[in-house]
Amino acid sequence: MKLGRVVGTVVSTINAPAFDGRTLLLCDLLDPSGAPAGGYVIAVDSVGAGAGETVLLLDEGNSARQVLSAPGAPIRTVVVGIVDAVLEGTLAMVQDARSGPPPGIVTVPAAAGPAPVTVPAPPRSRRRR
């Protein structure tokens, strides 16, 4: 999915039947910081997005048709969400432990929990001679 900003609507009376009654939104593509990433798409609205809103764009045909309950429709791009916030740099938790934290990420040592319980190893089974 992509991030976009709604900048306009496209009005059309002569269109493929699948577009009847649907709102077409002109959306600029954004990078995660909110800056224009270059380019735009015309997307079908499914959430009631309005002017200037940052939205989540789905750009895949099968999912789009599923979201709109429109099998066979020639629709690929759908506005599927209105974005409240995009948080950057919070993915440190899924960093590979071997590579260590990325620079600039402060790691907090885990609080001391209960002492680990040591389980005695089970006795080895004797070999039959």
Partner: protein
């Protein structure tokens, strides 16, 4: 989907069986300020009413074939609507 201007027509008498009766138009993709961007394309006309000079929007990839009466045709760009107006919304950046 993207905006485009119809700039010409393609006539092909020999074509894949699925393309019989399909109108082919040359389109120039546009940015959202309606300035030409990128190269021209040949698109199938799924609305049967687009003509040279008209502002249209088109869909690419598999969805283009979905726009045709027979969805199993070798079409990768299809005009799916004729634009009456592109209206910038109040509150949106220009």
């Amino acid at each position: 989907m993207q905006l485009a201007r119809v700039v010409g027509t393609v006539v092909a008498s020999v074509k894949s069986p699925g393309l019989q009766g399909v109108k082919l138009l040359v389109i120039q993709p546009l940015d959202r300020h309606l300035r030409p961007v990128g190269g021209q394309l040949v698109a199938a006309d799924a609305v049967h009413m687009a003509g040279p000079g008209e502002l249209v929007y088109f869909v690419a990839a598999r969805e283009a074939a979905q726009a045709m009466p027979d969805p199993f045709v070798p079409v990768d760009h299809a005009i799916v609507g004729i634009v009456d107006a592109v209206s910038p919304l109040a509150g949106a950046e220009p």
